[in-house]
Assembly symmetry: C2
Homo-oligomer: 96 residues x 2
Amino acid sequence: MNFKPLDPLLHSELRLAVMSLLIASEEAEFSYIKEQTGATAGNLSVQIDKLSTAGYIQVEKTFKGKKPCTICRITADGHTAFENYVKALRTYLRVK
Amino acid sequence: MNFKPLDPLLHSELRLAVMSLLIASEEAEFSYIKEQTGATAGNLSVQIDKLSTAGYIQVEKTFKGKKPCTICRITADGHTAFENYVKALRTYLRVK
DNA sequence: TAATTAAGTTTATAATATAAACCAAATTAT
DNA sequence: ATAATTTGGTTTATATTATAAACTTAATTA
């Protein structure tokens, strides 16, 4: 069958959800991602950090009025990695 | 986006590969699965055990001549779980 | 000014994956 | 015949990963 290896960074429910959101909207606030994924802030913070360290997303710390606001954006590398991950997954799923 | 949770039993590269093989061929020998997945025997043994305990596959220990031979088959539950997993995944992948 | 909330981060723990070590029986080499 | 090797795995120990709990800092509200 020749299964392609799955990028371990993307083969994680929460990180995949984060990437999926960013694919859809190019950029999103931490709190929005938290709400959409239902993740705890701590878990989300860790996973965003991993994606950022890998260069899959870019994190900008700004302010919204006086409150801190963390904005995430997907990078070109992130886009490519996501596409490759989907391709690899297809070798397991047997779907068109 | 309403991400559906991913069955943790299937959201694992090796276990997913095992299930994928069994979806394709209904039954397969341990050594064949090992060869196709490139997994070590130990790792494969553990993961097959988990799938079996969950009732996703059925394991039969027979002999091939005088050598032991472990045959795995997918169950109806396993089939359903796999289909549900694929459906859930689609909520992340944004593909048709 | 004390308590609460917002927006995260850090750290500790629980869960998971993986390989290394091991076992039993059969086969092959000496 | 018996020692070494191979086959077909299982068990166990370790490394990795995910997750939540605890914490921090600043702003808002009571």
